[in-house]
Symmetry: C2
Subunit: 419 residues, 2 copies
């Protein structure tokens, strides 16, 4: 469930992994040092030694290696107001390594390059109606965008540490295969293997996860999720996905398929859904359903963030009090409230974060959603649910993917040494 566990797993599949016990301790301490700096922003060697309880000598050795690996930089000596030698502050190196994220969604592909400080160094969205074309062609295009992102990173002096794909479907974490993606119409697509094949000249790890999981993790690493630590991040796109974070870690369930809120039933007599069920939340609160109910064209290759996306037309109508638009959002909010109330009744988080399309729609969604939650959540009087709005916007999943690579690197910095 934790990221450190994922990294271990990842590294266990690498033939380069040394087996000696003393190495394990060294690796662990190396990660401890870099993570302390990452958590604090800046730190001196003495502060690191105090916080980690490692000896100053051990800290110095590890810092030396981390500087050599271009994970840390010296900020120069700073007077610390005390007697003795001025100390030298360390920070993460924003000019060394980077993570590459690629998001494969229903009507767009996005790529993003993030440095160790989670600063976006390159970002591009390609509007593409992925439902209409063969998965192989979608992956061709995704690989091409990744190559573009890598070229941009390298031109910027950054070395890619890995590539993470965020896919709008259920992903098997161990293999990186999409098992089923109803909105893309995909079944059994080995995304990681296909990307590795297409990017055969690039020698970095490739991983994949569900986009809702990565959007929820983005909220934890880059957004407002760290303040609660136990929340459900729900994002409305063409599908409706959720990522559940409990005690600061993504809750994946037994097989990693947790959070599929889009197919929670809100009306057992409702319309059939692409998943094979009927009356699913997506049929009421997915983007297409809202646009259709508001009398707008449904999304056809108009990504969020793209000016032609009907979302902006919807918002404009909501702002001038258009009846059909208001009713469409109210229906969506009520359905979302019913689905989320079920989630709150069952897993008891304290915060709901509205992401994706729901973030810009929040001013019109939040009241109906809150009412629906209060009505359906048992003991709601004793557990007020905070509803918050994501500040990451539509880029959450692709930024989460790039940040995932950075998180993995900081959790196991020694992988660089063995390369």
């Amino acid at each position: 469930m934790s990221e450190i566990a994922s990294v271990t797993e990842w590294r266990e599949r690498s033939p380069r992994r040394p087996a000696a016990r003393a190495d394990d301790v060294g690796r662990h301490n190396l990660a401890l040092v870099v993570q302390h700096v990452a958590a604090r922003g800046t730190a001196s060697r003495a502060e690191i030694a105090r916080a980690t309880r490692l000896t100053k000598g051990t800290v110095s050795t590890h810092v030396q290696e981390l500087l050599k690996l271009e994970l840390l930089v010296e900020l120069g000596t700073q007077p610390d107001g005390r007697v003795g030698r001025p100390h030298s502050d360390l920070a993460l190196n924003g000019s060394g390594h980077c993570g590459i994220g690629v998001e494969i969604n229903v009507d767009y592909i996005a790529v993003c390059v993030s440095d160790l400080l989670d600063k976006v160094r390159f970002h591009r969205i390609d509007v593409l109606e992925n439902r209409a074309i063969d998965p192989g062609h979608v992956l061709d295009r995704a690989a091409e965008l990744v190559r573009t992102a890598i070229a941009a990173a390298e031109a910027d002096g950054l070395a890619p540490a890995g590539i993470a794909a965020a896919v709008a479907g259920t992903v098997e974490l161990e293999t990186g295969a999409v098992l089923v993606a109803p909105n893309l119409g995909w079944t059994g697509v080995p995304v990681v293997d296909e990307l590795v094949e297409r990017l055969s000249l690039i020698d970095v790890p490739v991983v994949a996860d569900n986009e809702a999981n990565l959007a929820a993790l983005a909220e934890l690493w880059l957004g407002i999720g760290g303040e609660s630590g136990s929340y459900v991040h729900v994002s409305g796109d063409i599908g409706v996905g959720a990522g559940i974070v409990v005690g600061g870690a993504l809750f994946r369930g037994v097989r990693g398929f947790a959070g599929e809120i889009g197919h929670v039933v809100v009306d057992r007599n409702g319309d059939p859904c692409s998943c094979g069920g009927r009356g699913c939340l997506e049929r009421f609160a997915g983007q297409d359903a809202i646009f259709r109910a508001a009398g707008l064209p449904s999304t056809t290759a108009t990504a969020l963030g793209h000016p032609d996306n009907p979302l902006y037309g919807l918002i404009e109508r909501l702002e001038r009090g258009d009846e059909a638009a208001s009713a469409a959002v109210r229906v969506a909010a009520e359905a979302l409230g019913i689905g989320l109330a079920g989630v709150v009744n069952v897993i008891d988080p304290d915060t709901i974060i509205l992401g994706g399309t729901y973030a810009p729609l929040a001013p019109w969604l939040a009241d109906s959603l809150r009412e629906s939650l209060v009505r359906q959540v048992i003991a709601s009087e004793w557990r007020p649910i905070e509803i918050r709005v994501s500040e990451l916007g539509p880029d959450a999943a692709v930024r989460g993917a790039a940040a995932w690579i950075v998180q993995r690197l900081l959790a196991a910095p020694d992988v660089l040494a063995s390369r």
Copy 2:
């Protein structure tokens, strides 16, 4: 989330808790030794030393204390087929301490005495229409039954180590207060405080939890739950409750209210529910709803296990193929399938355990339930959900309550030394 964490919390509130660091290590090792014996059934001192990596001397000292505290017994010397002294096997002492469980449910109160081997030494159900009377009277009756159970335990040579109440409502674990119990009609009833007051002469800890949680834990400790370790235990009584176990620990959520599946919406246009919402699962799959749909009288003070309970009439009708009874169970199974599919989509367990009324009804429920799950669970092809039937029957919650006291004692055996 783990039981050990709960015990720590419980002990931190005790003024008797010593603060020294060496004591912490000793306490931890004492628990380690007794828990090794509990896990294995029997073990020799040498086996314990090997498994725990404690020295033989330390193990001997702790075993001596555990014998003195009446937590362990010597089974007598056994030849072990090897050269040297014959070893002496140790086992949990079934004649020393016991846990007292009391279940306060909608139409009955049950008590149970379990020894350290989880053997039921006393069990009694009092049929009582608790909805119609004041909570104070219900608690009077519960306290009286607890006194009866304690008298029976003492007559049997057992010393109660604590009392655990399983209540059909949302319980705040820290205070043992029921916040809301829609089916009992209770709001804000401090169950633990009230029981402590009524049992003022009895100097043992009193704790409380939700009955669905304790039924799910009973499955882990005494039933089939240990085989999967990640399951949803759903029990049908007048309410419908679930306990979620993930990786061998109860998943409580942020405030301990997780698992309230009875109020998950299955029909947003359905009838109003006692919780204030509408179309809740309970309205379709609760005992009363099933009985009513089958043309049977609803439960009035006829506990499960009681021969007058309409359940036996229902089963008799199902066995002879009665149309109304079959239709009633089919409707319940479909609704249960919709509610559980939502839970599976959101938390991704691998097993569902049917408990309470659902256990005896399983032969007529399971097929419709399975169909409903396959239809509504996304990626169900890649995650077959095992549906299993609880063997603990209607006593799961009260047995789980008594076993909880035993679990707490084995996790912190030193509390006996300080008494």
